[in-house]
């Protein structure tokens, strides 16, 4: 307009949102969960992950974290391991309500419902903190609209590591909002490898032996009706993928929906 109009200056927007910690819960000396505020403009699909971090020495130190809360929630929840000398988690484990954490603006990931073809039963196979994206999905009503039954497995070393056992096994089915929708359709199948427990052994062994299906009263894996999501450590991903491929399942992606999707459980190093 006039000669003294201010020039347009491109300002760098931080790639991170600043959110406030609202609660913290320590499960063991290696596992904890926490909640944060959520920017109204932050959108994600249940099952996705986001970069999450702290400011360290004046710079963001982020790691990829699955969002453990469902996409409709007005807060964010995260489930984390504590690594003794991990650059992020050695600091993150000390957070208190009111502290600031950095959350990336863009959520992404492979564990989303749109990457799967329609099916009858959804199996969510996880080990350790790989449970996190499934905590989001099992609290999302959309899952129960797409699948008649949802089976969430959680493989850990010890019973103490089965964080969320009460939430999944007892609280959710009794939840005033979701309980009626979930009803009997959510099956929780925890298993431990190093202690006595009602379900013992590795998830892939329990699948191959048929024990998992016998225990939950379901037929063995059928690529025509079953859809699977897998999240855990590298060995678990490799073994579970091999089990599915051997049974005729096809891996899917957003570009090309299929019978199963996999995602690495990100662990701080």
């Amino acid at each position: 307009m006039t000669g003294d109009a201010a020039p347009l200056v491109a300002t760098r927007v931080s790639p991170f949102l600043q959110e406030r910690v609202t609660w913290v819960r320590h499960w063991t000396d290696a596992l904890f969960s926490f909640g944060t505020t959520r920017d109204p403009g932050f959108r994600f699909s249940s099952g996705q992950f986001v970069m999450l971090g702290l400011e360290v020495d004046g710079r963001p130190l982020p790691r990829a974290y699955s969002i453990a809360s469902p996409s409709w929630s007005n807060e964010l929840e995260f489930y984390s391991i504590k690594v003794a000398n991990g650059p992020l988690t050695s600091r993150l484990k000390l957070i208190q309500p009111g502290d600031t954490v950095l959350v990336g603006r863009k959520a992404t990931g492979t564990l989303v419902l749109d990457a799967l073809r329609p099916g009858r039963t959804l199996y969510l196979l996880s080990t350790g903190t790989g449970l996190a994206p499934f905590l989001s999905l099992i609290r999302d009503p959309d899952v129960y609209e797409r699948f008649a039954r949802v089976v969430v497995t959680h493989g850990c070393r010890t019973v103490a590591d089965l964080s969320y056992a009460a939430l999944i096994g007892e609280d959710l089915p009794a939840d005033p909002d979701l309980g009626e929708l979930i009803g009997e359709r959510l099956i929780y199948y925890p298993t431990v490898t190093r202690e006595d427990f009602r379900n013992a052994g590795r998830i892939t062994d329990l699948i191959e032996s048929g024990r998992l299906f016998a225990d939950i009263g379901a037929p063995a894996f059928d690529p025509a009706a079953d859809r699977v999501m897998i999240c855990g450590g590298p060995a678990f991903l490799r073994d579970a993928k091999a089990v599915l491929l051997a049974r005729g399942f096809e891996e899917g992606s957003l570009a090309s929906p299929g019978d199963f999707v996999i995602e690495r459980a990100f662990v701080d190093s």
Partner: protein
């Protein structure tokens, strides 16, 4: 580790990868994209999204050729965070091999 963009991208340049990257580590040239190997967090979400399977995990780049190419151009090209319009003639280049050697002349190993 990192993921790397390889030959199939050249002159196809679908850019589906850009949409799913959580850390915006793609950089764009005239005929293809590269990943910045130091920014990639190894999440693997981009790999299955490419329609021409141009993205590989770092260990699959046995000779280090693609690591060198991605590193080189990531330092020169602008960052890309939004998928643009792929080239109109991309289908013609879809199944061609050796595109990098044939069309990219400004790179010395």
């Amino acid at each position: 580790m990192t993921y790397l963009v390889t030959d199939a991208c050249v002159r196809c340049k679908y850019m589906d990868c850009v949409e799913v990257c959580p850390v915006n580590c793609f950089y764009v040239g005239d005929s293809f994209l590269v990943i910045n190997p130091t920014e990639c967090i190894d999440c693997g979400v981009c790999e299955p999204e490419c329609p021409v399977d141009a993205i590989i995990p770092g260990p699959d780049d046995a000779s280090g050729k693609w690591l060198a190419i991605n590193t080189h151009y990531a330092s020169l090209w602008p960052n890309i965070t939004v998928k643009g319009e792929p080239p109109a003639d991309r289908e013609a280049f879809r199944d061609m091999s050796g595109k990098f050697e044939r069309y990219i002349k400004d790179f010395s190993a």
